[in-house]
């Protein structure tokens, strides 16, 4: 598995797309710092950008990579190798190279701007952790979609639909159901609904940092416990890990049964 990981990783390192991705984040970081002249404000803007863009890039890139390297995969399948290690290797290769572009692309401008001397280092590392989690989750989801669909166009379609659903439509449905059931106590439901969507989960992590004063305005005891203590942070991170593990398990399961 490690060998395949290495091959995919180096392959991606040589490809144009990781550089485009890297340069995009580098520019984003530099421009935000230049325009805001303030580390904490730049971190806030970045948080808003990251929870939307990282999933999109992760899904599209994951699907694209799978379809592009299909021939190589089939060649590997002819070798005496475990199937799970082939696909997991590829998955980790993609996810790691994307995360690296993210961390280096954003990290370099912020470090040069004097991140280590400021108090925002904790916020910034939370941002990078969230971004990395989202990359891992959405690349895994993309691999799932690609494994289930032979047709490239269909695969891309589903991938974009998945992103659109989790980033926008889910929140719309969520909001509608909250308003519909407003006569009932909703604090548990709303927290539960958040857990089911990795983008919402990352958003709550960010809310915990940015809007804590607004969140504490709500009277629910469950909310208070969730947002007022470290409980919320811990639960969110655990749920994000679950969100990584489940799709990865499905990759293993699916790849073992798939007929190539």
């Amino acid at each position: 598995m490690l060998k395949i990981l290495k091959y995919s990783f180096y392959d991606l390192m040589r490809s144009r797309w990781s550089y485009v991705y890297f340069i995009f984040y580098l520019l984003l970081g530099v421009v935000l710092l230049f325009l805001n002249n303030n580390l904490s404000k730049a971190v806030i803007t970045l948080m808003n950008v990251i929870i939307v863009l990282v999933p999109l890039i992760g899904t599209i890139f994951g699907v694209m990579y799978y379809y592009n390297s299909k021939e190589f995969t089939e060649l590997l399948l002819a070798q005496p190798l475990k199937r799970s290690s082939i696909f997991l290797g590829q998955y980790l290769g993609v996810a790691l190279s994307l995360s690296m572009s993210l961390i280096l692309g954003l990290g370099i401008p912020f470090v040069f701007y004097g991140l280590f001397k400021s108090n925002d280092i904790w916020d910034f590392s939370l941002l990078l952790i969230t971004g990395t989690f989202l990359t891992f989750i959405f690349t895994a989801l993309a691999f799932n979609i690609a494994l289930s669909n032979e047709n490239k166009i269909k695969g891309f379609g589903y991938a974009i639909l998945l992103w659109l659903f989790l980033a926008v439509i889910y929140d719309g449905l969520f909001l509608m159901s909250l308003i519909l059931f407003e006569d009932y106590p909703l604090d548990k439901l709303s927290l539960f609904g958040t857990m089911l969507n990795p983008i919402d989960l990352s958003r709550t992590l960010i809310l915990l940092k940015l809007d804590i004063s607004a969140l504490l305005g709500y009277t629910g005891a469950v909310f208070k416990k969730f947002f007022g203590t470290n409980f919320g942070l811990i639960v969110s991170i655990i749920m994000l890990s679950v969100w990584v593990v489940l799709p990865v398990l499905r990759i293993v399961y699916k790849s073992n049964r798939k007929d190539f």
Partner: protein
């Protein structure tokens, strides 16, 4: 007029009779070892100097014009038995004591120092600890409360008292005090023409500063931090609020400033930072808000109802989760020339004023008012989209609620 002449004559005679005001010393090894004893033998306008030491006394009643001075903060320990000092006379000065262990009672409001129906007193440089009520003014006039430190350890509202309480008092100056951990830091009830300047009120379980039925008061340059609510102004008229700082008042019923049934006030140059609600207004009329900073609050302003002809002019609204929340479609308040960090318009003629009006009330704040749990969707892409569509064509929010001249740059004054 007659009264004034009479009192002038009295004061004049008194000063002639007491040309030599004497000084009485109190200490463990002196002739006089207790403060009560010293007060009994003192004549009018004498000075009592209390040396360093611990004096276990309570119910000290000052019934003649005296000056009590503590040297190196002598401790007066009430041993939780009741009230410690009560002033029944005009022209009393109490300076430099460390007063501890005031008794708690559910029947009487025991205070560390109480002033009853007196004038021209000065209470300064005191340290009060483990108290029920701190400084209690009852129908007092023309006094000063300066440089005191009040440290309470209140946990619940029903069995704790206020740091500085004024009841039917007039023309009192409260300056440079530090109040912490009591019920209300400073409480004014039926008290007019008071100046509250440069105090710090923090960590109190109810309000940092509380006005009830008090008119024509000024408070300025104070700091209110981490209280149940920073300042509550209720049922009062003509209060002036200048250059105060309201910080980190967090909780479901926490406000930087709570205004209820207030008319004709001025709120100028204040800073509201990281409160759940910066200002909560209900039934307030003809108030001028000018040059205030609202920084990173949950809600910069929450307007509940019956608020008419208020003007918001040249304020800065910076990075609040919500700038403004209204619970009705009616609006009779004027917003003009404020700076809104969420403003996304442009300024083509470069006159420093945005060419597109700004709508401070978002659809989402309306939704959160209706269903509070939806707050969890804050900063979601979907919410941004519906906010945008509401901005284009307002349906739920008051359509005449606009800042027609939003400033492009942060307002400096």
């Amino acid at each position: 007029m007659k009264k004034i002449i009479v009192s002038l004559v009295v004061v004049f005679c008194a000063s002639i009779l007491n040309v030599k005001a004497e000084t009485i010393e109190v200490c463990a090894t002196c002739n006089i070892t207790s403060i009560k004893e010293a007060i009994v033998i003192a004549k009018d306008f004498d000075t009592i100097v209390v040396k360093k030491g611990t004096y276990k006394e309570y119910n000290i009643i000052i019934d003649k014009p005296l000056t009590l001075i503590g040297e190196n903060y002598p401790v007066i320990d009430g041993e939780n038995k009741g009230e410690i000092i009560t002033i029944h006379s005009d022209n009393v000065t109490v300076d430099g004591f460390h007063i501890i262990n005031v008794g708690t009672s559910y029947i009487e409001d025991y205070a560390a120092i109480r002033v009853v129906k007196s004038k021209n007193f000065i209470i300064q440089n005191l340290k009060l600890e483990n108290l029920f009520f701190g400084i209690y003014l009852e129908k007092a006039k023309e006094g000063k409360i300066l440089n005191n430190t009040i440290l309470g350890d209140a946990i619940q509202e029903y069995n704790s008292g206020n740091g500085i309480q004024l009841w039917y008092s007039k023309n009192i100056d409260i300056e440079n005090n530090y109040v912490q951990g009591v019920r209300d830091g400073i409480y004014l009830e039926f008290s007019d023409f008071c100046n509250i300047i440069n105090n710090v009120s923090t960590g109190n379980i109810r309000y940092g500063l509380h006005f009830m039925f008090s008119n024509n008061d000024i408070y300025q340059d104070n700091t209110f931090e981490k209280n149940g609510a920073g300042v509550a102004v209720m049922f009062s008229k003509k209060i002036k609020m200048y250059n105060n700082i309201f910080k980190k008042n967090w909780g479901s019923a926490s406000y930087g400033l709570l205004l209820k049934e207030i008319n004709d006030a001025e709120i100028i140059g204040n800073t509201f930072e990281e409160n759940t609600i910066g200002i909560n207004i209900e039934g307030t009329n003809r108030i001028n808000y000018k040059n205030n900073d609202f920084i990173r609050n949950g809600w910069a302003m929450k307007v509940r109802g019956a608020c008419y002809t208020n003007t918001f002019f040249e304020n800065n609204f910076l990075y609040n989760s919500f700038d403004l929340s209204y619970n009705s479609k009616l609006n009779d308040n004027i917003f003009d020339n404020n700076y809104w960090s969420n403003y996304t318009g442009y300024d083509l003629d470069k006159n420093g004023i945005g060419d597109v009006p700004y709508r401070p009330v978002k659809l989402f704040s309306y939704i959160v008012n209706r269903t509070p749990e939806t707050i969890i969707l804050l900063r979601s892409l979907f919410i941004d989209i519906i906010d945008f569509s509401e901005k284009v064509s307002p349906v739920f929010t008051p359509d005449n609620l606009l800042d027609n001249n939003p400033s492009i740059k942060k307002i400096e004054w």
